[in-house]
């Protein structure tokens, strides 16, 4: 079992962080899940309306032919940064009254090798994982194949990860 005490290289799986042992409230029940479904739907709408899910927009970005994607990602980072600072400054709590925690992560070589491989895939498919789901929802049904292939890629990584440099 991946115990939360060993170091967690995954930036996105909080329940494997050491600190999660001390987390109090655990989400359960459908009402708790539905709010994330709605948040996801809002995000999906934004992704489509901003044309971030467009393969063409990604090609423009990597050819430096348009500012659009740089503007989207850059202003998203700045907005998020300001919000995180405000949360810290005013000690804003979650809906359950829990203290908000962000666990710092450490460097490993995977961020370089994995980052490059993901970059190749991003330019080919014109999609990072979020847009894959939005593209399928938008009616590009063939992208289901791309998603299944991405799941397969994740599985193969898990299978051979001990033999990869980290």
């Amino acid at each position: 079992m991946n115990s939360p005490t060993e170091s967690n290289l995954d930036f996105e799986v909080q329940s494997l962080d050491k600190e999660s042992l001390h987390r109090t409230a655990e989400d359960s029940g459908w009402a708790n899940k539905i709010k994330f479904l709605i948040a996801g739907a809002l995000f999906g709408i934004i992704l489509v309306k901003s044309e971030v899910i467009s393969w063409f927009r990604i090609q423009e970005m990597f050819r430096l032919q348009s500012f659009h994607m740089y503007g989207v990602i850059g202003s998203a980072i700045v907005t998020a940064m300001i919000c995180v600072q405000l949360i810290k400054r005013f000690d804003i709590k979650t809906l359950n009254g829990e203290r908000i925690r962000i666990t710092p992560k450490s460097f490993n070589k995977g961020q370089v090798y994995g980052g490059l491989l993901f970059g190749f895939g991003w330019a080919l498919t014109g999609a990072c994982p979020g847009p894959l789901f939005a593209q399928i929802g938008s009616g590009f049904t063939v992208i289901i194949v791309t998603l299944v292939s991405a799941i397969a890629g994740t599985w193969v990584y898990g299978w051979i990860r001990e033999r990869l440099p980290h």
Partner: protein, 187 residues
Amino acid sequence: MLELLNKPWPWYVAGPLIGLMVPLLLILGNKTFGISSSLRHICAMCLPGSISFFDYNWRKEMWNLFFVAGILIGGFIASSFLGNSEPVQLNPLLIEELQRKGVNDFSGLMPGDLFNWKMLITLKGFILMVVGGFLVGFGTRYAGGCTSGHSIMGLSTLQWPSLVATCCFMAGGFIMANLVLPSILAL
């Protein structure tokens, strides 16, 4: 108002809205923004094998699967009811380059003549959709995050490993789009 809903949103509207997903998820339940991990949870749920990487309590991360299901629904809502009426306003240089490679469908968000079921059995389509997808899944997990987890969540919380990851995402994309993709499109 309706007009705004039916037009594509400029970067200075969409970017801040995407940025607001970070505090939204934190406040809704102390969750950090990150999407590629959903692929790991799907593996852990459906086909964990005896692989230690998938041996964890994925139920604790169920929220993430609801979030991506929401993205799919949001994509459907936006394209069915709030559809952008005009084609994407692209740089003419890109259109010219793609036309030279035989791409002629610029009407939608994706080039319909590259991304369709028939293309899947051609070498070009297989590389774009299947190999590309595999690299997205393998690479994001190897890097421990994707555009949302590293570039937005990681950078906005000032984590330098996420800056390294983001630079590598971009470097990989530049290499592929400029040096390799033209030959693939010529297949």
